[in-house]
Amino acid sequence: MICSTWINRFYSFVLIISSTVIFVQSDVPRPRGVSLSKASLYSPTKDFTCFDGTVTIPFSYVNDDYCDCFDGSDEPGTSACLNGVFHCTNAGHRAQNIPSSRVNDGVCDCCDGTDEYAFPNICSNICEELGREARAEAQRLAEIHKAGSHVRLELIEKGNKRRNEMAEQLSQLESDKAEAEKIKSEKEVLKNELESKENEALKVYRDAEEKERQLKAEEEKEKLVKEATEHFIRFDANSDAILTIDEIKVVNAFDKDKDGQVDEEETKYFFGENESVDQDTFISITWPLLKPLLMMEQGMFRPAQAEGEVDQDIEAVDPKEDHDAEDLGIEDDSLDIDLPQDDHEEQEVEQEQHKTYDDDTQKLVDDATEARRQLTDAERTVREIESNIRNIKENLEKDYGLLQEWATLDGQCLEYEDKEYIYKLCLFQKVTQKSKNGGSEVSLGSWGEWAGSDNKYSAMKYTNGMGCWNGPNRMTIVNINCGLETKLLSVTEPFRCEYKIELETPAACDDSNATQNQSSHDEL
């Protein structure tokens, strides 16, 4: 059906070739279904030995519609052997090998109709027609390849240019980085210097603070000992400076479970294995256990243990939430690494600023703060350059084809609409799908690798898209063919969650490929 003017040109050419073939064919007699290349293996004057060498039969058994050879080689022209092969010459078009089971089954498989010799009327020889169409198609493709390769040359040129630019950018960035690192270390030195001065000045304040803290702690302790001693004396009914089990048995406070009596378990709780405690032991061990109970009795206090239990319960009930929180935390970190550090430092600074220092100290603090800020800025600059370097290196490492013909297509986005969805392919980046009825974009995969089988640049694979309900992550295969412009021809989902895109682009055009195609069609 794909007819155009140059078919006629082709036609005469084909006629010459096919008449030659007919001549060749009639020149070499061979059993039905045998290819020219295997004709010499079938000699009518000799017994026939199966190709696998296992059986030798009279030549009259060849093509006698009974399978004698395990490898099927005695019945190339009949359906007798399940593993046999029938060769059709298909003069005017491509030759073909078909399974023997397709011989005389009423279905025309060979365009020359030779596979249905038992039914002479059902298949006509359509090889000329098909061959013509195939050649026209090959010619059409060749034209496209030819025209497309001009565009491809431009792409190659641009691609190389882009790569060179990137390489230049990279070396520029490398020197920027060196510069930035130098600044960074200068700032660091400055910061350390100023900070040590700051520390020195602040030491006075800190020492004062420390002293105050220690004082407070001692007061606390004294208070505790006093309180404990008072209670000890109160519980020590016989005032022998020893508190015995009998003595505490009459004190309500020791009735931990509030069952009206102080039992053995409770005495053990307070005394351990001891029968009695002296004053020091009481202060250091018994009192800390007893005090919360006393406070509770006075309604001042909820037992710490109980609270702990409640907390544990919450954790046990919803461990998932915790995980989520952790995950989010990790994501935040990766999103902006320097944020938490900044926060931390700023908080510290703020705290310190609340305090009032003398003017000299305040100046040192301000200088140190400024030095810290400058260092942070310098560090950020380095990180930014490093990230740019990473990106460029990544791009430079990407396989943009043998001649960089794909380099300028990186990041180019192409759309395709069907009844329900809009698909978007951003080359070397990602594939997405969006419903026309709204809803969010669904990832059908991110750039994975080249995935063509013969020529790896004939297909791309985008992997690890959004997970399918009850299934795998979505992925997309992009099949690439030569075309005059870069566009999507179709998007389908042949397998669940595995999408297939047909892409046309001049980057895939190849002049030499075109001539190859042409010649293979002329082969007979």
Binding site: D64, L82, S101, V107, K419, C468, N470, P494
Partner: protein
């Protein structure tokens, strides 16, 4: 399950298990001869998404040289679950799609469920509403349930008018794109309804008729398919709901199973039970409907399915695609081999179903049917017999290197021949049999003759005229017998004596192929290309074919340990009786 009403109890007094089975099918009916293609391999999925998908699946069977007869379309082919319509975007040219299949002898099966979408403008809904064909609720209003299409109502098949209306929907003019090569799957016909409440059809409580609804559904489908071809072609229908008598109209599959070893194993007792209950045309979804079968399970399931009456692979829409060629080439090769085994035996299956239509006995049989004196057979449900000739023991566990097989017939010294090696075992109860991934134990009983067609083609139809290989497995008396049924495979012409039903017998003196009914003939092009005689003790010196007035000397070769004799190309035509005489 019976929730209300009266239960009729029948007691069958038969002596032997076979007598009871026969008496039961005398009461409830036996399956008529199915169209031959339906005994071949079916490829199904929820869903083949569009015409290009159907074409590609069809083509891939040929690319990978795997025989297949039927491609199935599940609910997504319809215009938004409105049955008797097509999704015009995805299936704009159904007739051409079917023609592509039939060009290779293949068929299409399309699903028609009994729930009717309640949508204004849908002819079926509007007709049924207007004419009062829907099942009513307790207040006399059209009952509304919920199924695939959303809000749905259900045709009242107990109303003859409604049934007639439904049958007429199957006419080609009412269901454009269909033809005699399109057959029907009635799913969800229990009926499957999400919201369940008391509903009544014409003064019948649902409790009374629930079990029968599906039967009346497929009956109306069956009638519609007969009418659409003026009673010329045999319909094939697959149903999920089954009741006593279902076998007269449809094949039954075991419903929505999963890709699990346990579900593969369960397919045997399930189909054996259905078989005893009159429903011989039974199968389970090969590969499992839910979940994804890994290569070994898939291989074993194909090997098992190839020896079960209804042989269809199916899968859920949410699962990974699993057509045979989507596995590693080594697995695809094993699946190809399993399918080829099925096709090689297609005429054996067809003969079994013919015989079932006559004698009402199961096609797939428990061992105790033929060996009722052997108590061990009473509980065996992981192996079975096909007819009284093949003993089948599918492998239903992972990593099996050997399985236990029970060889019945100890008392009568029955011989069982491995169908691959022709090596015979004398029956002696249980034995451990080695298996590989390529093999499940299948044995031919000594004393039987089985017809095979070894030129496996793309579809069973394309094999119709192909020659036979007759496998004669000798018993200890050096005799064997079998049968063969041949007709056009698709019409009711057999009722006009256009068929061959032949007995094949072998004794040391002669082998005969004779017609049980002389008046019944069929002009088959088939012939005998090979006779394999396994277990021969003294090979004959000469063999001579007698057919009509002609006598032809035949060639023979001995194989294996000189106990397998192959008669080379007798070329006797199967359209006429023949005889081969042997001399020693």
């Amino acid at each position: 399950m019976s929730e209300s009403g009266l239960i009729d109890v029948f007691v069958f007094m038969g002596d032997q298990p076979s007598d009871v089975f026969r008496q039961y099918t005398t009461l409830t009916g036996s399956a008529p001869i199915p169209p031959k293609f339906s005994l071949a391999y079916h490829q199904c999925r929820w869903n083949y998404v569009d015409e290009a998908d159907v074409r590609s699946v069809d083509d891939n069977f040929d690319v990978h040289d795997i025989p297949a007869d039927v491609i199935w379309l599940d609910i997504e082919y319809t215009d938004r679950k409105k049955y008797f319509t097509w999704d015009v975007e995805k299936f704009p040219h159904p007739a051409e799609m079917v023609a592509n299949l039939t060009a290779k002898g293949r068929k299409l099966v399309a699903i028609i469920d009994p729930h009717i979408k309640r949508e204004a403008g849908y002819f079926l809904h509007e007709d049924a509403t207007e004419k009062g064909y829907y099942v009513k609720d307790k207040d006399g209003k059209d009952y509304e349930g919920w199924c695939w299409p959303g809000s749905s109502s259900y045709l009242d098949f107990f109303n003859p008018e409604a049934s007639k209306y439904y049958s007429e929907r199957y006419k080609f003019e009412n269901f454009p794109g269909t033809s005699n090569d399109v057959h029907i799957w009635n799913d969800m016909n229990e009926p499957s309804i999400q919201h369940h409440e008391q509903n009544r059809g014409r003064n019948l409580s649902k409790r009374h008729v629930h079990n029968e609804y599906g039967l009346w559904n497929i009956r109306a489908t069956h009638q519609g398919m007969l009418d659409r071809s003026d009673n010329k072609y045999r319909p094939f229908i697959l149903t999920r709901s089954a009741f006593a008598g279902t076998q007269r109209f449809a094949a039954v599959w075991t419903g929505d199973n999963a890709a699990e070893w346990g579900h593969l194993a369960a397919s045997l007792p399930m189909c054996l039970s259905l078989s005893l209950a009159g429903i011989s045309f039974c199968g389970a979804d090969v590969g499992g409907f839910f979940k994804y079968p890994e290569a070994e399970l898939m291989t074993r399931w194909y090997q098992a399915g190839a020896f079960q009456p209804f042989f269809r692979a199916h899968s859920h829409i949410e699962t990974k695609r699993r057509e045979p060629w989507l596995y590693e080439p080594s697995t695809t090769a094993l699946i190809r081999d399993a399918n080829r085994r099925r096709y090689a035996l297609i005429d054996f299956w067809y003969t079994l179903f013919y015989e079932h239509s006559k004698d009402g006995l199961p096609v797939m049989r428990p061992l105790f049917q033929h060996y009722p004196k052997e108590e061990a057979t009473f509980t065996i449900d992981d192996q079975y017999l096909l007819g009284d000739k093949l003993l089948v023991r599918p492998v239903t566990s992972a990593g099996a290197t050997s399985v236990k097989v029970y060889f019945p017939g100890t008392e009568s010294n029955t011989l069982w021949y491995d169908v691959d090696s022709y090596q015979a075992r004398v029956a002696a109860g249980y034995a451990n049999i080695d298996v590989t991934l390529a093999k499940i134990p299948v044995y031919q009983r000594g004393g039987s003759i089985i017809p095979r067609k070894e030129r496996v083609r793309r579809s069973s139809l394309l094999m119709a005229d192909d020659p036979y290989t007759l496998v004669v497995a000798l018993d200890s008396n050096n005799t064997a017998s079998g049968s063969l049924y041949i007709d056009d495979g698709e019409t009711y012409e057999y009722k006009k004596k256009k068929y061959i039903y032949a007995k094949i017998s072998y004794t040391t003196e002669e082998m005969t192929y004779s017609f049980v009914n002389d008046k019944a003939t069929y002009p088959t092009q088939s012939w005998v290309e090979r006779i394999v005689i396994a277990g021969i003790k003294v090979p004959p010196k000469t063999a001579k074919l007698h057919q009509g007035d002609k006598q032809t000397a035949l060639q023979m070769t001995l194989h294996r340990g000189n106990d397998v004799l192959v008669v080379r190309k007798p070329a006797a035509t199967m359209a006429q009786p023949w005889k081969i005489t042997f001399s020693y």
